[in-house]
Symmetry: C2
Subunit: 214 residues, 2 copies
């Protein structure tokens, strides 16, 4: 994609992006152990020296790839939220939001991130690098879901049900790692959306409408 007329900075950025995308593909397809800088560089069609210029260590590469995954996912969520905002209020809209969230947790991005999380569980140095990224991503995902559903996050019931929906989506993602779980998942999404919609719209006393603690 780089041409002789392309400024050096753009070429560098394109190389970086190719490396990050190759890292995600390697993690999702071949797992943690196989996703080394050398393998990723080869897959990206980048020399090992150039790869190491961008990412001196494997941890640098993995952390940057995780950040890149989160940015991609956040951008995608923003576009979904805009599409959903055009829909009429109703259970159909709630189902579209839930389906979009769940889909993001069954993507190759999730499968790649799962390799990193699982490895980080037994690697304190990596864990320390990715926990702040995770926390930020969790906050952004929650905010996007709240916006897409059009609910009041200061209402503890709505806040916790949005959180539960994200947890359920994460669990469906994990259930799809070893087998194709799509047929079962479709039914779960429909039922969850119906139950969530009813619960979010049930009349209730908002006596305790302080900001939730999380």
């Amino acid at each position: 994609m780089a041409t002789p007329h392309e400024p050096k900075q753009d070429r560098s950025r394109a190389t970086r992006q190719r490396l990050l995308e190759a890292t995600i593909d390697c993690l999702a397809e071949t797992g943690w152990a196989a996703a080394t800088v050398a393998v990723v560089a080869e897959r990206a069609g980048v020399s090992r020296g150039a790869a190491q210029h961008h990412f001196p260590t494997r941890e640098d590469l993995i952390t940057a790839a995780l950040e890149y995954m989160f940015d991609s996912r956040t951008q995608q969520a923003k576009e979904e939220a805009m599409a959903v905002a055009a829909m009429a209020d109703g259970v159909g809209r709630t189902e579209a939001v839930v389906a979009g969230l769940v889909e993001s947790y069954t993507s190759p991005l999730f499968k790649a991130a799962l390799q990193v999380w699982t490895h980080a569980a037994a690697d304190p140095a990596l864990r320390e690098r990715i926990v702040p990224l995770e926390a930020k991503f969790g906050r952004v995902s929650h905010r996007r879901a709240v916006e897409a559903l059009g609910v009041d996050d200061a209402d503890p019931v709505a806040h916790h049900l949005v959180q539960a929906t994200l947890d359920m989506a994460r669990g469906l993602g994990l259930a799809d790692v070893l087998t194709d779980d799509s047929a079962r998942r479709k039914q779960i999404v429909q039922q969850w959306a119906a139950t969530l919609h009813a619960a979010l719209n049930a009349p209730r006393a908002l006596a305790d409408s302080r900001s939730p603690t999380h």
Copy 2:
């Protein structure tokens, strides 16, 4: 624990159990790569030769450990279900069931199983061995949850809400892998138990009461 008077078969069974428990501890604490037959044997205080007599390959050891985890978890679920059955019907009972399910997904057993699943995602031979175990465990977990909640699994709404609860529990398990998520989790469990209880007990037409497809 073995004594000179202990029959040979019992000693062999005790050795096997020590190896399986050491495998689970190694996986949960040090991750996939470190959980080799040699490391596990040392941790269990068993000679490498004896370990290899029980489990000729690492795959044999890991598969047997996963089976042992599922059996332990199933036994635990059975005891929980009996304790819960003594409680009066109501949201408190539903919350006890949800809390018990979620707790099982945040145990070291889950953290050990996560290491195996994640590795199996990129290892077709291991995946082939564990998918049937997973399917069986999924069915048993579902049945136990149905019994503990005292619902009719032939009702598609109840069936899918029980499945969704197990998915949410799995997602909460994953959220606890890198950080202590217990404070947030407690609030999610309370809210979901209230929502689930209302949904399971809402009056509804059972026009379509065929057995659910999953």
